[in-house]
Structure formats: structure tokens, C-alpha cells
């Protein structure tokens, strides 16, 4: 799941929010920075981390726990 967006290096391009399929990331209108609005809806597609031109996003490798078949 998405863990962190490091604002210190962010260039406010908005690509992470644009390419998130789950609307997890939003852009804050007051400072133009992206923030993780719906962390529980991250489904580990890694689109945001892969698209970020300045490498300031970290998505952890483990998915949200869900009921298993056995």
C-alpha cells in the first residue's frame, strides 16, 4: 500500500493523482501538493511510484489484508 509522498522533492506535476486508478491521491488546492486522501483504497498497482518523475513516492510491497480462501 502507498506509504509516503515526500513533499520536499515534489515538483507538483500532478501525474501521481492523474494516473491513480483508485482516486487514492488528490492534489491539495491550497499548496498544489499531492496527498494520500484514501490510503485504504490503494491496490498496489504502483502506477504513482512508476510515473513520478522525481521518485518521491513509496508504495510498500504488501497489500491490504483480505479474507483468504483457506
Amino acid at each position: 500500500m502507498i506509504k509516503e509522498i515526500d513533499h520536499s522533492g515534489c515538483i507538483k506535476c500532478g501525474l501521481c493523482a492523474k494516473f491513480c486508478p483508485g482516486n487514492v491521491i488528490s492534489m491539495n488546492p491550497s499548496d498544489g501538493l499531492p496527498y494520500i486522501e484514501h490510503p485504504d483504497d490503494c491496490w498496489n498497482c504502483f502506477n504513482c511510484e512508476l510515473i513520478c518523475p522525481v521518485n518521491v513516492i513509496y508504495v510498500g510491497p504488501y497489500r491490504k489484508e483480505k479474507p483468504l480462501a483457506w
Partner: protein, 561 residues
């Protein structure tokens, strides 16, 4: 203006008029739009709930496509796919997909997609679980490269693409004719009325958020059409994959090619028992059923014997599978956390990927039950076992076909009139959760639903009694919990709608499974009816809405391909 009115802009409708509306921006939706647009006099609006192309299921696919080459035997390939589906297949459709596959591959190459070659010849591999059909090696850059090439082409040809629009209703007039759709802009809450002479649903099938790359599919497009009278097919079939318990890495089909073997808690190579010929190379559904039986017998945890895996196997797997951006990324992230997927003992489990329910259509993609409605990609009912590489070939073909059919259809029809009352009523019903004093959330309800649907003895080792227990639980969720979901944002409203759709889909799949009293091990397994029954069940199960909810009928599968 009260708080709710600042979230959704109830009194504003932005109207968009075009000859054709396409809903969904993956392979099939983009193909449908492009084919219609070959006629420059026709206008196309394409809407996507994410960002067209880049958030689609197509984007995350591996990019391997089944293509019939001149030296391949068409008849053999058709039978191979039909046999992998144990007869539950429309051979005429399979034949057409294969006959046109090479031309579509050339189209992709013209758009700039590269399929890998060795010594001038295309690299090809056998599709998992099949005996004959082969796919090309993954397009360079994966499915992402293909769908982005289509997206670029769509922009070049003047297709109007509207991103971040979630479709909440298909508009159908009193004569039963589709006239477009109503959507909401996810970013600003504005409502959009898309009027069109023809509407194409290309929104993929549904899921229960069981697998990461299908988490955005809840079947809302397909079920919106169902709610307005369109018929569905294949509600009893599912694609359930196997995955590590805690993270998402693909490889269950590929690891055995490099020598990895499935082992139970006692270290037994259990596939020797369930499929003595193919063993670990058996089709996905056979492995899934075997794992469920092992777990039921107390032999879990289950997983590959990776600790004793030969080093060249690890190297081979890394070379073949780490081409996908996210696969390499996740592998390295795990390594950083001290987990080596190719060396450590990893526990695997079932991962519900998608259901196979889709709109019932004719050969050209015209939906059954609503005039002016068409379907493409997995939103159109296809076959239960799509085999590696066939999904892309099918999505490409069905999008192309729908576009061709629609382009002819719109020449002969007028723009349907749509009653404003229908639009207002759809809007009211969508925003209603904002005004509820509900005491639960969509996330909690989805988790309850997953607890009902995911256990192995419901959809993997099927019995009537377990289906009935699950159905009782789903009906309880439907009758006592569904209406208590509250929302405080557009994001929540969409999740409420998705959850309502999943509840309906769960009920439908359980009821459809009760009807199919037989087994076809490659695609469907019932413990209480474990024989294949061609006499009674070489049939499609078709569902349509009625006053009591929905009703089923069956239709003989033609063998005329």
C-alpha cells in the same frame, strides 16, 4: 446551499451529444471508438472513470497476444480453445478472432508497437493450459505499450475523450432504446448527460476486489445495463488465480516451466496425484481445485518448493518475468524487506480475479434486451477460460467488431428522445447515500461480502449446501446492510454504487451456480456433481431482470464454427 449540494452539483447538467458513446478506455473501448471514427462524419465520445488507457486493466496486462500465423492450423486452434473450455465456447467467435488476429497485430505494429523477434522470426510461446495455441512474446513495454498506442491514435483521430467520469446510469427510453448515459465528474461533482444514437459498454467484467489488478472492476457498466433490461451470460464462471498470501507477484504458470514444483505442508508434490500427466503444468483451475482440496485435508500451507529450486530456474524466471515494471519493483521491494520470492518458503492461496459475467450479444456485439446497446471486451460475455494471450486478442477483436457494427447501425437511426425524469431519478438514487444516517461503510460491507464469497468451498469446491449458506448471507447483506451504507464524498458515493453492484453480482453468481449441476474441471468444479453432463449442460445460462429480481434461462451452445 447545504453541505450535500457542495459535494454534488445537483442542478447542473452538462450535455454532450455524439453519434456514438463508448464507455471504457481500454483495448476494446478504444478499438470500438477508432473503428467508428474511420467514418469522419461520425462523432464519438469516450468516457473513462480513470484516465483513458493509463488506468485500464489493459494497461496492467502482460502484453502477450494470441496470433494465428499462416502456417498454423485454424481448425486445430479453434478446437484447442473450445476444448480448454470443455465445449463452453462459441466456435464462430473463436474462428473470427483467430482469422483476424494477424491483421490486428499488423495494425498494432503500424501504431508503433514492437513484438519481440529472434533471428527475424516472432518469438512465440504456448499458451498455458492449451495444447496448440501460441501467443507472441509480450509486446515491448507490455500491455501498457499497446493501450497507449491506441490512446495516441484515438487523440489523433479526433475522438472526444472525457476522463474521470463515472457512469451511473444507462439511459433507455420507453421504446427500449438506449440513448446514452448519465455520469458524474469524479473531480468536481458535476453531472454529465451523454446523448448518443448508440452506446458501447467496454467496462470489463466484475470482481470482488480479490486481486490487485482487478480492484477497479466492480462490473458497474455491465450491471447498469442489466438494470435497464440487458441480458447477461456466464454468471456462474470466474477467473480465480493463485497468488502469494501477502503480496502480488505473478508466476504460477511460469515457475513450473523453470522447474518449481507445488508442495504441501508435508513436502509432497501434490500435483502428481491430481494430474499425473501435466502435474505442475496443469491448467490454472485444476491447480486451484487441487490446492483447495489439499487445504481442506489439512495440508496447508501450500506453495512452490522455492528453497530447493535450482539456481538456473531463478535466473530464468527473473529474465522472463521481471520485464513488467511493477513485477521488478515488487520483487526488489521484498528483497529490501528481507524476503526473497525465489528462495524463501512463501505461502500461496487463491486470489479471486474476475467473474466472467458479461452482456449477452450477437456475433457483431449487439446486446440482447436493449436496442442501440453494444458490448466489447470482457463486458461482453465470452468464454470461462480465456487462456494466456487470448484476452488481448479477444478484447482487440470484440472492440473492432463492435465499432464496425455500431458504425453501420447509427446510419439508420435517429437520436432517441430521453425523458428528463429518468435522468433526475437516476441522479437522486445515486446521491441518496449522502443523506442517509447510515451506520456502515462500503469498505465494511465489501469485507463482509468477501468473507462470504472467498472461502474455497463456495466457488472452488462447489456444493449446493455451501452455495445456499452463502446465498443466505448475501441476502442478509442485501436486505439488512446495503441500505445502511452512507457517503460523505463523491469517492464514497462511487464506492456505495460499486458495493451495491458487487452484492447483486454475488447473488447472481450463487444462484447461477446452483443451476449448473455438473463439473467441467478446466473451468468449473462441483463436489456434489463431479461429472461433465453434455446432455443437459452444453448450454449458456442467461440472466435477465424481472419483477422479482432476476430470472434465468438456458440456451444451447451452437457447434457451428
Amino acid at each position: 446551499m447545504n453541505e450535500q449540494e457542495t459535494i454534488v452539483r445537483n442542478n447542473e447538467f452538462i450535455t454532450h451529444i455524439s453519434d456514438v458513446l463508448v464507455i471504457g478506455g481500454g483495448f476494446s473501448g478504444l478499438w470500438a471508438a477508432l473503428k467508428v471514427k474511420e467514418n469522419n462524419d461520425l462523432s464519438v465520445n469516450l468516457v473513462d472513470k480513470g484516465f483513458c488507457g493509463s488506468t485500464s486493466h489493459s494497461f496492467f496486462s502482460g502484453g502477450g497476444m494470441v496470433v494465428l500465423m499462416p502456417d498454423d492450423d485454424l481448425d486445430e486452434w479453434v478446437e484447442d480453445i473450445a476444448n480448454s473450455n470443455e465445449g463452453i465456447a462459441d466456435r464462430k467467435v473463436l474462428r473470427s478472432i483467430l482469422e483476424n488476429s494477424q491483421a490486428r497485430m499488423r495494425d498494432y505494429e503500424t501504431m508503433g508497437v514492437t513484438f519481440p523477434r529472434r533471428d527475424g522470426e516472432y518469438k512465440r510461446i504456448r499458451s498455458r493450459g492449451a495444447k496448440k495455441i501460441k501467443l507472441l512474446g509480450s509486446a515491448e513495454g507490455g500491455g501498457k505499450a499497446i493501450v497507449l498506442a491506441l490512446h495516441k491514435e484515438a487523440l489523433k483521430r479526433g475522438i472526444n475523450i472525457k476522463n474521470r467520469i463515472f457512469i451511473i446510469d444507462i439511459l433507455v427510453n420507453e421504446q427500449g432504446q438506449a440513448g446514452g448515459a448519465l455520469g458524474i465528474d469524479i473531480n468536481d461533482g458535476s453531472f454529465h448527460v451523454f446523448r448518443a444514437k448508440a452506446t458501447v459498454i467496454a467496462t470489463n467484467s466484475g470482481s470482488f476486489r480479490g486481486h490487485h489488478l482487478a480492484s477497479d472492476q466492480q462490473g458497474t457498466g455491465v450491471f447498469a445495463a442489466f438494470n435497464k433490461g440487458a441480458k447477461l451470460q456466464n454468471a456462474e464462471f470466474h477467473y480465480i488465480n493463485v497468488r502469494p498470501n501477502k503480496f502480488e507477484i505473478e508466476g504460477s504458470g511460469v515457475l513450473p516451466k523453470f522447474g518449481a514444483r507445488w508442495a504441501n505442508a508435508d513436502g509432497e508434490y501434490f500435483m502428481d496425484k491430481y494430474d499425473p500427466d501435466l502435474k505442475d503444468h496443469a491448467p490454472n483451475h485444476t491447480i486451484l481445485v487441487a490446492m483447495a482440496k489439499e487445504a481442506k485435508a489439512g495440508k496447508a500451507p501450500l506453495g512452490f518448493d522455492t528453497p530447493s529450486f535450482a539456481e538456473e530456474g531463478r535466473v530464468g524466471f527473473r529474465e522472463m518475468m521481471m520485464g513488467h515494471g511493477w513485477m521488478k519493483l515488487i520483487y526488489n521491494k521484498l528483497r529490501n524487506e528481507g524476503v526473497d520470492f525465489l528462495r524463501d518458503k512463501i505461502e500461496w492461496n487463491a486470489a479471486y480475479e474476475t467473474n466472467r459475467v458479461g452482456l449477452k450479444t450477437d456475433f457483431g456485439g449487439k446486446a440482447s434486451g436493449i436496442e442501440g446497446l453494444f458490448a466489447a471486451g470482457m463486458a461482453r460475455a465470452f468464454i470461462p477460460n480465456t487462456l494466456t494471450g487470448l484476452s488481448i486478442a479477444y478484447s482487440t477483436w470484440s472492440g473492432y467488431m463492435a465499432g464496425e457494427t455500431v458504425a453501420k447501425y447509427v446510419n439508420d437511426v435517429e437520436m432517441p428522445e430521453i425523458d428528463m425524469q429518468q435522468i433526475l431519478s437516476a441522479q437522486d438514487s445515486f446521491v441518496e447515500p449522502l443523506y442517509r444516517a447510515g451506520d456502515t461503510t462500503p469498505d465494511k460491507v465489501v469485507e463482509e461480502l468477501q468473507k462470504v464469497i472467498f472461502p474455497a468451498d463456495v466457488l472452488i469446491l462447489i456444493t449446493h449446501d455451501k452455495l445456499q449458506d452463502a446465498l443466505n448471507n448475501v441476502e442478509n447483506i442485501r436486505d439488512n446492510i446495503e441500505s445502511k451504507m452512507a457517503a460523505s464524498s463523491i469517492h464514497d458515493l462511487i464506492k456505495v454504487r460499486e458495493t451495491e453492484t458487487m452484492i447483486l453480482s454475488a447473488e447472481m453468481t450463487l444462484r447461477a451456480s446452483m443451476l449448473r449441476k455438473e463439473s467441467r474441471p478446466f473451468i468449473y468444479y462441483r463436489e456434489d456433481y463431479n461429472e461433465r453432463d453434455d446432455q443437459n449442460w452444453l448450454q449458456w445460462i442467461v440472466v435477465k431482470k424481472d419483477e422479482s429480481g432476476f430470472s434465468f434461462s438456458t440456451e444451447k451452445i451452437p457447434n457451428d464454427g
